[in-house]
Amino acid sequence: MPKNTENLRRGHAPAIEARGLTKSYGSKTVVDGLDFQVHAGRVTGFLGPNGAGKSTTMRLLLGLERPDSGQALIEGRPYAELTAPLSHVGALLEAKAFHKGRSARNHLLALAQSQALPERRVDEVLDLVGLHDVAGKRAGGYSLGMAQRLGIAAALLGDPRIVLLDEPVNGLDPEGVFWIRNLMKRLAAEGRAVLVSSHLMNEMAVTADHLMVIGRGRLLADCGTAEFIERHTDPAVYAATPDVARPALLEEAFMRLTASAVEYSAR
C-alpha cells in the first residue's frame, strides 16, 4: 500500500518544483517568487547572468538554504524529508567539495555508507567517471577536471532520478566538456530529470532541450530551447539564419532577454 502511494505521488509530482520560492540576504532579494517545474527525460538548462540567483535556487532546492517563503519540492516533498536522499537527487554544486586529504574512494565510500548503498557501487561510479586509477590518491592533488569528475561520481552514486549540476563544465578541457555534455544527454535519455546551470550559451544551445532563464531572481523564460531562440532573436536575423546554425543564436536571444536584468555590466 505505501508503495502504491509512493508511485502515485512520483507519477503526479514533477521531478522538481518551485512554488513562490523567495530568498533574501538582508535587503537584497536574490530569489524572487520563482515558480517552475523541471520534468524527467530532458536536460533543462538553467540560465541567467551572474548574480541572477541560479546557485541560490539550486541550494534552496537541496535544502542547504531555507526559503523566506515558498516551497522547493523534490518529487512532491521537501529535500529534508527524503530518505536516503542521494538515491533521489544527485548534485554537483562546486568543484572540490571534498576534503583535500581524503582519497576519492574514501570520500565516495563515506557517502555510500551514509545512504546504506552497497560498497561495490563506489567502484562502479569510479569506473564511470574514469577515476579508477587515481581513486586511492589524496583528492587535494586532483586537477580541476578530475575534481569535477569526482563531483559527478558523488552525484551519480545513488543512481538518482534527478540530477542537478551547477556550472559543470567550468574549467574543463574540451574533452571533459564533451564528456559532460554527452553524460547529461544520456542521463536525460534514461528518463532522469537533469537541471544544469550555466552561463555558457553555446554549451547550453547544444545540450539543453528546455531552458529556464532567470534575471534578478525572477523567471524570465521557461520554454523549449528552439522556441526560446525563435521568440527572442531579432526576427530578421532569425529568418536569415539556416536551421542548423540557429543554436548559435541562443547567445543573442539571451542577451536581448536579459539586457534589463543584468546585475553588473560594462557601460
Binding site: T83, A116, D159
Partner: protein, 277 residues
C-alpha cells in the same frame, strides 16, 4: 530483469535498507580514519602523554627523600593523579585540535555540503559525527590511560602503592577517557558554531589555557571557584580527589564538565540546524 544503463552495470541501485544512525556513524568513521591528520595527532598524544607520565613519576620517585613532608603526603595520597595528570594538558590540546578540525575542515573545504546533502536532518548529521568521534576518543584515551597506569605504578612502587583493584584508581583511569572525550566534544561544538579552524582553535585554547588564569585573578574565593569550574579545572576527575587544594570533588567536577558539554553541544546543534550551509 537486469537493466544496465550508462550509470550502472545492472539493476537499479538501491539502499540495502533504510539508512539510520549506524549508517551515518559508519560514514563518519570512514571520514575520520581516512585522514592522516587524525593519526598524527593521536600518535603525538600517545607519545607525549606516556612520556610525561614516565618523566614525572621517575623524577618524583628519584627525588622522593628530598621532598618536603607536604609534597610526600600529596604524592602518597594522589599517586594516581601523579601518574595520569602530567599528560592531561597536552593530550587535551591534541584532542581539541582534532575535534575542532573535524567540523571546521568540512566547512573550509565545502565537504559540509556533501555531508548535509547525504543527511539533510542536520542535527542527526552532527550527532552522528559527535557520537563517532566520542567513541573513538574514549577508546583511544583509555589505550593511553591503562598502560600509563601500569607503567607509572611500577615506577612509583618504591614509595607508594597504587592498585588497580582500588575503585578510586579505576574511576580515575576510566575518567581519563571521559575527560578527553569531553574535551573533544567541547572543541567540536565550538568548531560547529564558529566554522573556522583558526578561530575555533584559538577559542578552545583561550577557554582551556588562558581563561582559567584570568579568572583566578578575581579576588576572593569566587575567582578560584570559577577557575576550577572551567573545563581544564575539572581534570580533577583524573585524580584520587584527596588533594588538599581541590575545590571540587571528582564527582562535582564530572558534573560541571558534563554541563559544559551539554551547553556547548546544545548551542552547536541549534546553530547547525538554523544556519544555512
Amino acid at each position: 530483469m537486469t537493466t544496465a544503463t550508462l550509470t550502472r552495470a545492472g539493476d537499479a541501485v538501491r539502499p540495502t535498507h533504510r539508512p539510520g544512525m549506524t549508517d551515518l556513524m559508519r560514514s563518519e568513521w570512514t571520514k575520520l580514519r581516512s585522514l592522516r591528520s587524525t593519526w598524527w595527532s593521536l600518535a603525538a598524544m600517545i607519545a607525549v602523554s606516556v612520556g610525561f607520565t614516565v618523566a614525572a613519576c621517575a623524577v618524583y620517585t628519584h627525588d622522593f627523600t628530598h621532598l618536603d613532608a607536604a609534597t610526600q603526603t600529596e604524592f602518597r595520597q594522589d599517586t594516581i593523579g601523579l601518574i595520569l595528570q602530567p599528560g592531561v594538558q597536552f593530550a587535551s590540546l591534541a584532542v581539541s585540535v582534532l575535534g575542532a578540525m573535524l567540523i571546521t575542515s568540512e566547512y573550509s573545504t565545502g565537504m559540509i555540503r556533501a555531508t548535509m546533502l547525504a543527511e539533510p536532518r542536520r542535527t542527526r548529521a552532527l550527532l552522528a559525527k559527535a557520537a563517532t568521534f566520542a567513541l573513538f576518543v574514549y577508546v583511544f584515551s583509555e589505550l593511553i590511560a591503562i598502560p600509563s597506569f601500569f607503567i607509572g605504578s611500577a615506577i612509583t612502587s618504591a614509595h607508594a602503592s597504587v592498585s588497580i583493584s582500588d575503585p578510586t584508581n579505576i574511576r580515575a583511569i576510566l575518567s581519563f577517557g571521559l575527560f578527553m572525550t569531553a574535551m573533544g566534544l567541547i572543541a567540536l561544538s565550538i568548531g560547529a558554531i564558529v566554522r573556522h579552524t583558526a578561530a575555533a582553535v584559538s577559542l578552545v585554547l583561550a577557554l582551556h589555557f588562558v581563561l582559567p588564569g584570568v579568572l583566578s585573578l578575581i579576588p576572593g574565593t569566587v575567582g578560584k571557584h570559577l577557575s576550577a569550574a572551567m573545563p581544564q579545572g575539572t581534570s580533577v576527575v583524573v585524580s584520587s580527589g584527596h588533594n588538599a587544594g581541590n575545590l571540587y570533588t571528582p564527582a562535582q567536577a564530572g558534573l560541571i564538565l558534563a554541563a559544559w558539554v551539554v551547553v556547548l553541544g546544545g548551542a552547536a546543534l541549534v546553530s547547525v540546524k538554523r544556519r544555512d550551509v
